[in-house]
């Protein structure tokens, strides 16, 4: 049987987040294909509901990548994003699901390492923890 492939969702802001991901590819960085990048205009657009729904839909881990907090394109968007992620983590902890399945990262568009590093961390988490509830993947 083939090794189970983790499923990671990355909500990336259209500004620094996506730009950092694009730059990493342009500079030849390779990362695990498991990541599913979903663009949002700003991490402040991310709703805790999106993250939880992604976990429900089979994601093993979800991360949100936004601008650096002090240099957010939408001024305070990545702060909002961080707070949303924080609340989801708290909820997960309350229902006994590992909160490290959800993470917030920040990057500048020039940080070519940021996206692959985030993917690497989350893949590691997903591999360590396996699917939520331990069930077979659909």
């Amino acid at each position: 049987m083939a090794e189970k492939k983790p499923k990671i969702v990355a909500f990336c802001c259209e500004r620094h987040g996506t730009d950092a991901a694009v730059l990493s590819a342009r500079t030849g960085k390779q990362y695990d294909a498991s990541v599913r990048l979903v663009q949002v205009p700003c991490t402040g657009r991310v709703d805790g509901m999106h993250i939880l729904q992604a976990l429900e839909d089979g994601a093993d881990a979800v991360f949100v990548l936004g601008c650096l907090e002090k240099n957010c394109y939408y001024d305070t968007g990545s702060i909002e994003g961080r707070k949303r992620v924080g609340y989801v983590k708290q909820m997960l902890a309350e229902v006994g699901i590992e909160k490290e399945r959800v993470e917030m990262f920040n990057a500048a568009s020039t940080n070519a390492w940021a996206f692959p590093e985030a993917v690497g961390k989350m893949v590691e988490v997903a591999k360590k923890l396996g699917p939520i509830g331990g069930g077979e993947r659909p």
Binding site: K70, T76, I79, K83, R84, Y87
Partner: protein, 234 residues
Amino acid sequence: MIVAKRKPLNEIAEMLAPYKKVTVVGCRSCVAICLAGGEKEVKMLVSALKLKAKKDGRKQQFEGFVVERQCEKEWVSEVEEKILDSNVTLSMACSLGAQTIGDMYPKHLTFPGLNTGIFGVPEEQGVWSEKCVGCGNCIIHTTGGICPIARCAKSMLNGPCGGSANRKCEVNLEVDCAWAAIYDRLKLQNRLDLIEQLTPAKDWSTSHAGGRRTYVREDAKLTPHQKKGKGAVL
């Protein structure tokens, strides 16, 4: 909702008698719905106070305004000029509204026009009854969805006292005995075993007994970085 009722007109008139210019501020929220401090009540009160001043031979000016929610600064600031332009503001909101105005303009006098009573529900048109006392630790899943802390005069936790007659409360024979209601509800739900279990002493520290309470949702709070203008941390 928060249920309040207007103070007796005489009491209000007496409170306001020494002041020339009175701004009455109502609220469109809970107190409007419980017919205590909405636009209509404010207008009627202003008329009544004008009549009373006329009858008593006092030269007073009354002007009424209503804001969306008096417990929030943003709404209150809509009538800021009117408040500061008066000698006293009569708040026709619950005490939360009156205290918000007071905290915003500490030099200015703000008096309560309502008596704030209960967290209640409208049982029928014109009737509100208390169903919660905000103890901060809800247990109604164990009592058939009926709160004995609020609905029993003695906040009994282990069933009705010996004064329950005809399923009414000994303190007020108009009011249903909370525990009789709980018994019926649990019987209906086939969960009577719940009231046979001993309920231990309640931890009141989550209630007002534990001191003034503040609830914080960290993820909703604006960080200093997110604040603007004067609100920004200096």
